[in-house]
């Protein structure tokens, strides 16, 4: 039989005002198992806690019941008190006689009687408590970063800096992500490549970082501290070790029809190509749909001309399986498709382009070698119109309901760069609101207006139509309460951004929660923005929500700090109130396995002695590190073999009996 001490708190007057504390102490002292009962003004105070410690020593208590405020307030406090007095922290039960009794019942007699019943229930439960020790699971000292953009690279660099091994998995042939496609970056107008490529080179040369480019995550299993991930290294058809990156093959390749994804389809590329000059790793890849050798078996010019003989048409995909302690999602974003926005006739007129396409046109390594030319006839434009919020802040279902956050700034950047290089071009910007909420952001936008004379029009474009080579942009000018038509040479749409298409099934693989816009949901929007509710999964960059490069880098380092904090531990303590199966009663029927949301239950065949002889039986086994203790399995188990520590069937039945006695 247990030796239980009951400590009833006054909580100043919060409890004592409507509950006769002395009566509770008196009533509960007759309960079976109770050897000591007392009350005190503030149980959670130092004085109260020392009283508990003293009582544990004096009476050799095996368990304590504290009748006080909600366990969600001070359960951890009283568990620490128990530990300091040498008592197992899970031999502590709390009776909530404040939020669920004294504060809601005005009648003193009712409140006291209910407090007695609640105290009796807690004692009944404690009688059946058993000491529990939190389980421990090892931590694999390696992190995985999914996505090789600036977010992934920054996180990887920080983790490698702390001395831990990091793998970056990037699905395109090179790391660098969207930032590599940009020309200049706001608000400082420094060139994207200049600040990105050094970090890419660091990532490639850092001995703690392994790059898996042209690879995708295929399967994730396991749990925090011990993830098992299968990575598919897609076949480049080039032996990366021998290839020197000279690029001769890319020039010799006859198949020129493929659209260059890096240049947003504004120029073509060969079937064998290196995405851009500073690509890391600087190894080409063969696009098997375009390659004549793969389609018809003829050609093979690249193989003939390759000085190093690195071309290998027989190369197959490779499946790699590795263990990780933590996973950072850095899958980034892409502009939305504009098929629902025919009013801008994006697909009909080549001169109506998205901002990312404009980045490539203005980029020195871009299709026009940096000269601002109209894609239709390669002539310099005289008038340009920028349209903001295309597809953003749209609840009509065609676009996205949220504000994409970065368009106002990059449009101001574009306008300023164009006016600086070609002062005689008229630049108009149709805007709803200009949102510049950052350090030096608004000053940057005002420079575009005041120094460079960009014409900002408060209003929206209703229609863009092509008439004899010119684009007629019809829009409203709300301040002038007028409808204006601008004859433009080029129209740039500030398109909304959405998460990368790989986000949805990656979330299911990681059992990480994801919202209706496919952004990963953070554990807490304000207090835990870089963690996913799924333990061990961290979020870095736009996969968690629209953000610009400064914020992405900040979040990348934050996620890295969290991962370093996790990898620094050798062991992870897990919640001890988890399910456990009694192998003598288990039918091995897999019903519990079907309802477990975390896949924590697996089946093994075990030698069991039953009815005098040894018998091999299929029994359930709970992985205590993954199980979160929800209890779904305990109810579907007909024989009661599966039970939940801390909330066992007998404990809850005892509570029900104590209440209904």
């Amino acid at each position: 039989m247990q030796k239980i001490g009951v400590f009833v708190c006054w909580c100043g007057s919060n409890i004592a005002a409507t509950v006769d504390v002395k009566a509770v102490v008196d009533a509960v002292s007759h309960e079976p198992g109770v050897v000591y009962a007392t009350d005190y003004q503030y149980m959670c105070s130092e004085g109260g806690q020392s009283q508990i410690r003293q009582a544990i020593k004096d009476f050799g208590l095996t368990g304590i019941v504290v009748c006080s405020c909600s366990p969600r307030m001070h359960e951890s406090t009283f568990r620490k008190t128990a530990i300091s007095a040498g008592l197992n922290p899970y031999m502590v039960e709390i009776a909530n006689i404040r939020e669920q009794c004294s504060w809601i019942h005005k009648d003193r007699e009712d409140a006291t009687e209910k407090a007695i019943i609640l105290a009796r229930t807690a004692v009944a439960k404690l009688n059946l408590n058993r000491p529990l020790t939190p389980g421990e699971s090892p931590v694999v000292k390696r992190a995985l970063v999914i996505g090789g953009g600036i977010a992934g690279i920054q996180s990887a660099l920080d983790i490698a800096e702390a001395g831990y091994e990091v793998d970056i998995v990037e699905k395109s042939p090179t790391i660098g992500g969207k930032m590599a496609q940009l020309d200049k970056t706001f608000p400082t107008l420094d060139c994207a490549a200049c600040i990105l490529t050094p970090k890419m080179v660091d990532a490639a040369s850092n001995e703690n970082i392994n790059l898996y480019t042209y690879s995708e995550v295929e399967d994730v299993s396991g749990f925090v501290g011990n993830f098992t991930v299968k990575i598919r290294k897609k076949a480049r058809s080039i032996n990366a070790d021998i290839c020197s990156g000279c690029g001769v093959c890319t020039e010799k390749c006859p198949s020129r029809k493929a659209k260059d994804e890096f240049n947003m389809g504004l120029s073509n590329r060969g079937a064998i190509y290196i995405p851009f000059a500073q690509a890391i790793p600087n190894v080409p890849v063969i696009d098997r749909e375009q390659c004549i050798k793969f389609k018809t078996g003829k050609c093979g010019l690249c193989e003939m001309n390759c000085p190093a003989g690195a071309i290998d048409f027989k190369q197959q995909d490779e499946l790699v399986e590795r263990q990780y302690g933590a996973i950072i999602v850095a899958t980034g974003f892409k502009p939305i498709s504009l098929e629902n926005f025919d009013e801008f006739s994006y697909s009909q007129c080549p001169d109506v382009i998205t901002s990312l396409e404009l980045e490539r046109i203005m980029n020195a390594a871009g299709p026009t070698k940096g000269k601002l030319l109209r894609p239709s006839d390669n002539t310099p434009p005289r008038t340009m119109v920028f349209v903001q919020c295309v597809g953003s802040r749209d609840t009509s279902g065609c676009g996205k309901t949220y504000c994409s956050k970065i368009c106002c700034m990059y449009t101001a950047k574009h306008a300023m760069l164009i006016k600086e290089k070609y002062p005689d071009i008229d630049v108009h910007v149709f805007y709803i609101d200009v949102r510049t909420p950052g350090k030096n952001f608004d000053e940057f936008y005002r420079r575009a207006v005041e120094e460079y004379g960009v014409n900002y029009i408060k209003g929206m474009v209703g229609k863009v139509a092509e008439r004899n080579g010119k684009l007629l942009v019809q829009g409203s000018d709300l301040l002038a309460d007028d409808q204006i038509i601008i004859e433009a040479d080029m129209v740039v749409l500030a398109t909304a951004i959405e998460p990368d298409e790989s986000a949805r099934n990656l979330a299911t693989m990681l059992t990480a929660s994801i919202d209706t816009n496919d952004f990963f949901t953070e554990a807490h929007p304000k207090l835990r923005p870089v963690e996913s509710p799924t333990a061990g999964v961290y979020l870095s960059g736009v996969c968690q929500g629209p953000k610009d490069i400064p914020e992405t880098v900040a979040q990348a380092s934050a996620a890295a700090a969290k991962v370093i904090g996790l990898l620094a531990k050798d062991k992870l303590r897990s919640n001890p109130c988890v399910a456990s199966s009694n192998e003598m009663l288990c039918n091995g029927c897999s019903t519990c396995e079907n309802v477990c949301p975390y896949g924590a239950i697996s089946y093994v065949s075990k030698e069991i002695r039953s009815a005098g002889k040894m018998e091999v039986r299929r029994v359930a086994e709970v992985n205590e590190a993954i199980c979160q203790g929800c209890g779904a399995c305990t109810v579907v188990c007909p024989s009661g073999a599966m039970d939940l520590k801390g909330f066992t069937n007998k404990q809850i039945m005892a509570e029900v009996d104590a209440i209904c006695r």
Binding site: S396, I432, K463, G475, L478
Partner: protein
């Protein structure tokens, strides 16, 4: 206090089933409106006027009858505000005040002329048949 104006606004909102508060004042409706120049009050102003309760102003405006009911503003509005329906509702309020002056179906052929686009005929019929 519950003035007649308040009641009329309630009426317009009920008939049109439009929630004027959803409008974010982007002006795309005015940008897309083909009859913009013939209007004294422009589409983006319908919504704010109804919001303010100034139905009177809309009733006496030229816009009420120059709106083609082509629904371009409804099609292009990013917030599903449907400004054209407000015009229809205000038209109803006007017609209900004036009493009966229906246009019979068989009166129409004589009023037609060939250049009128199909859409204009439909919206004319709807306008005058109320």
């Amino acid at each position: 206090m519950y003035t007649a104006e308040r009641e009329m606004t309630e009426n317009v909102l009920r008939i049109s089933n439009v929630n004027t508060r959803k409008c974010m004042k982007c002006g795309k409706c005015s940008g897309a409106c083909p009859a913009f120049d013939k209007m004294d009050i422009h589409p983006h102003q319908f919504v704010s006027m109804v919001e303010k309760g100034d139905i009177e102003g809309l009733m006496n405006s030229k816009t009420l009858w120059s709106c083609l009911s082509c629904f371009a503003c409804v099609e292009r509005c990013p917030r599903n505000v449907e400004p054209a329906k407000l015009i229809e509702a205000v038209r109803l309020s006007v017609i209900r005040k004036q009493g009966e002056n229906r246009l019979k179906a068989d009166d129409i052929p004589v009023l037609l002329d060939d250049e009128l686009p199909q859409q204009a005929i439909v919206s004319a019929f709807r306008k005058f048949s109320k």
